[in-house]
Symmetry: D2
Subunit: 148 residues, 4 copies
Amino acid sequence: MNAENSETLPDLTDAGKFRHWVPVSLRFSDQDSLGHINNVAYAAYVEQSRVALIDKLLRNRGTDIDYILANVHIDYRSEMHFPGSVDVGGRLLKIGSKSITTGYGLFKDGVNVATATSVNVFFDPATRKTLAIPDGLRRVLEEELAQG
Amino acid sequence: MNAENSETLPDLTDAGKFRHWVPVSLRFSDQDSLGHINNVAYAAYVEQSRVALIDKLLRNRGTDIDYILANVHIDYRSEMHFPGSVDVGGRLLKIGSKSITTGYGLFKDGVNVATATSVNVFFDPATRKTLAIPDGLRRVLEEELAQG
Amino acid sequence: MNAENSETLPDLTDAGKFRHWVPVSLRFSDQDSLGHINNVAYAAYVEQSRVALIDKLLRNRGTDIDYILANVHIDYRSEMHFPGSVDVGGRLLKIGSKSITTGYGLFKDGVNVATATSVNVFFDPATRKTLAIPDGLRRVLEEELAQG
Amino acid sequence: MNAENSETLPDLTDAGKFRHWVPVSLRFSDQDSLGHINNVAYAAYVEQSRVALIDKLLRNRGTDIDYILANVHIDYRSEMHFPGSVDVGGRLLKIGSKSITTGYGLFKDGVNVATATSVNVFFDPATRKTLAIPDGLRRVLEEELAQG
């Protein structure tokens, strides 16, 4: 992958770009005083998908590597209303030297309501320092990325 | 209704006692530092079922009557763990002069993890005063109660 | 304790009945679509006070006794509105053989908006079975209760 | 403002860069199973500051202009632990043609634990279309930005 390619990230508003999906029930208490789903709840929906995706990818990572959440970015694209559920697609976007970037698309009744990206950084639980992704794990991640 | 009848309420730990069901996704953020689902989240699960049940029962109540939540009581019976979803059964328990009592059973993978009861009081949106349940609505509620 | 005593519980709508207080910031996201603070958030406010109260009372309980939440009952007495904070008073109400009952009063700008009670049961972390309150801990609890 | 200036945004990890502050109580239920404050709760802390800041800046905006949340970006810089409170500094970062960018610094006991930025877009409540910032409001925003 060269620098140019790294710019052509998949369109996260397109449901066809995701193979991993998690449905999340909207809750009455997710609404705010404006009558729609509050922005904070979207962060919980994204987390739901991120936890499922990363658990799947890192299942066999061993106990000598852990990861932390470095950042979350959410683009709010459309209001969402209770009741119902939101389908959150999740996918790997980029593999760095010590981190991965994941991407998310949130859809209610087939309509994209938000997209998000997130970076997780790997570290050594013993030293609490950041860590280059080990070769075995990198291969797993590259296979995942190749599947699109 | 006499004192004896008021004692013979249905067993809310028995899934067979419910006809109305709402599934709610457990969220990673529902957990607390003890590694199980935090008690506050159960209140959101109960609300999810209560909103669906009361909306169904009061669908045709007209605009001259509204209702407020007077109390919620939750009995925690078993720890519950992420991930998965909780099935919340809801049912009418009692019809008062100005209020209804509803009951809930929360089940994870078929196991009862909590039960709850809740009282909603009717009031006149114009005067903001409590209100006797109108005859038409009372008949709807009594039919529901008779179905068990 | 006899039946008469068990009836003379303190009035939880009276702020003068509490010596332990915890302020909790109301959050914009605590509101619901009706424009007031959602009932689920009250459960978090009560928990905030319960955790502080029980931590204080059980500070020196040792590692051979733990406790779980058995139930929570919340009476909603008045609507509450963002912004601001809610002051949650907490106190011991009853000492059972294996459990304690605690009581809470929630006040916004000096006005009582809700009251709550909660039962916590003691158990042995090794056997995971309920446990009679040990004598040393019982004395601490009785002193607390005597202070009113 | 030219492209170079637009790069020299204030350091949001520096508490000295904020004049507007909102304290938010950490809640027991904000924690997750890893024993620290869950990332979703940070979004609520940021919202608390954003709502206070924008309410202050747009107090006199009139009824012919409203605004929506376009995005939120949170950088997690340090774990945060219950109990206590988080002080959230908020400030205006940029004024666009139809939007503003605000910035946030989250501090626990004086230590920066996270920073965030957010974009709000203005629109006409009648037509529901985005709207250039009116001159009067722009002057208010420019004065705020000039104060740093």
